[in-house]
């Protein structure tokens, strides 16, 4: 049997850029704490808000699990107030992550807070990959990622770091055999469109979800092989399988 929600201790909860928080929790677990692309449902409250919030695994180091989140609403606002030793309830790891068994030249492309699963993915692949990261203005986590990748490409919308513009402006798909991407839907759509070999582009989808475990069907998306649950069959899908406009 899988365990349900576990109560864990907050190790740290740090604002690393405006409204961007790095949350580390301590988990004692004999099972896998999760693979890149998998996620956890988190809640630090009782019944208000009612639902838990899904977050990708950003890193796993021994018994410490890292999440990265942007404060956008009530749930993330509550999370941002947590202090070390506070309690948090977690359910996971959930969903299907990225296929790590790839060969050839690999590119990781992230937009904004979509960088979260890409950090853990970069660390796990750790084989001369190129990392493309697009930000609005403030840049974060690049020093950590540098240890695991061959080259980093950065864009900011205000041009404060790296090249001014969007990450899709500088991404050169023809250089790569495999592409992994996570970020805003229009960004991922463009990445898939630009890649000629679409069967080797993998996207991490986001959707509003209630349960995170495949029963509410709130996060279902239409794919070329029928309706799929982002939380269960995903969140990672082949780029050619999904429709970004629906």
């Amino acid at each position: 049997m899988k365990v349900g929600y576990r109560e864990v201790d907050i190790f740290s909860n740090t604002e690393i850029a405006k409204d961007i928080f790095e949350l580390k929790v301590q988990i004692e677990s004999n099972d896998s704490m999760g693979d890149p692309g998998q996620f956890y449902m988190l809640r630090s409250w009782d019944l208000d808000p009612l639902l838990s919030r899904p977050f990708s695994i950003c890193n796993v180091e021994e018994s410490v699990l890292t999440f990265l989140y942007k404060v956008v609403g009530r749930g993330t606002n509550y999370l941002s107030k947590l202090k070390p030793k506070d309690k948090l309830k977690v359910l996971g790891p959930l969903g299907n992550g990225f296929n790590l068994n790839v060969s050839g030249k690999v590119a990781l492309i992230s937009g904004g807070i979509g960088i979260a699963p890409m950090i853990y993915l970069a660390k796990k692949l750790n084989t001369g990959i190129d990392f493309y990261a697009g930000f609005t203005n403030e840049v974060y986590y690049m020093d950590y990622v540098r240890k695991y990748v061959a080259k980093i490409y950065i864009t900011t919308e205000d041009g404060s770091t790296g090249q001014k513009g969007f990450i899709t402006d500088i991404f050169r798909p023809e250089k790569y055999d495999v592409v992994f991407t996570c970020g805003p839907s229009p960004m991922m759509k463009k990445v898939v469109e630009n890649c000629e070999n679409k069967s080797s582009v993998f996207v991490s989808m986001e959707s509003v979800m209630a349960c995170g475990m495949g029963v509410c069907l709130g996060c279902s998306i239409k794919t070329k092989s029928g309706m799929k649950r982002v939380c269960k069959e995903g969140p990672v899908f082949k780029g050619e399988e999904v429709f970004f406009d629906d």
């Binding site: 509003v208 979800m209 209630a210 475990m213 029963v215 069907l217 996060c219």
Partner: protein, 300 residues
Amino acid sequence: MIDTKVNIAGVEFKNPVIAASGTFGFGREFSEYFPISKLGGLSTKGLTLRQREGNKGVRIHETTGGIMNSIGLQNPGIDAFIEEELPFLNSQDTVIIANVSGNTIEEYVISVEKLNQTEIDMIELNISCPNVKEGGISFGTKAEIASNVVTQVRKVCQKSLIVKLSPSAENMVEMAESCVEAGADALSLVNTFPALAIDISKKKAIFDNITAGLSGPCIKPIALRMVYEVSKAVDVPIIGIGGIMDYRDVIEYIMAGAWAVQVGTANFINPNACAEIIEGIEEYLQKEGISTLEEIRGII
């Protein structure tokens, strides 16, 4: 010695906790968290004659004390359910209730005829889904229309028949009485409340269908009042549904007149919710020196 068993329309439930339709899939996902044979029963995701993809756009929206959903009966269709999901459910030691929806009376009838041939324990007729354009709730607002659906289904239905009522019924008691008269063996109430949420930056409704079904703790006091009123008016067993989050809520429903309950939204925020509620009921009865649910049923 406490006994939580309850008999509804000739079907014995080991306890009064039934997983509500649309919140428990076909049981597989939850069976990874706890043995689902602990449940009194399980009502399947709403089934339709043909497969449905469900609704487009936003499907879930959180609100204070509740969630709104507009899934739109995404399901594999009756035949695929019988072939692919039912064998697993039948292997579980719990009451299996097939929740059936339709766009037309004929669709309900064909679906029920197909289910007659299976080992399903009961059928729950969903005349109250707020998220489909035809059928669903339109059958559940006017008593004479509901009565017609139930009469036609009753003619063919060889299983015990539960009718699931909508809180949008023009007159809840009249609706309940009509459904019983038309042949319902039991009633379950209530389905979600049609509700509205607006995105003020996009200046349009959150949901493509404009309205969606509200569930969760915010609806509990209203649903509880409806169960109370209906249980006083009809003689068939009532299954109470609406915002049950813990065992205390279940006891309230039993005291209001319910024989059993369905737990829905709580499953989304805790996969072990039903198992914990069942334990909580047992502990409560033990502590209060109550040996059967009948002792407290309808005492209000």
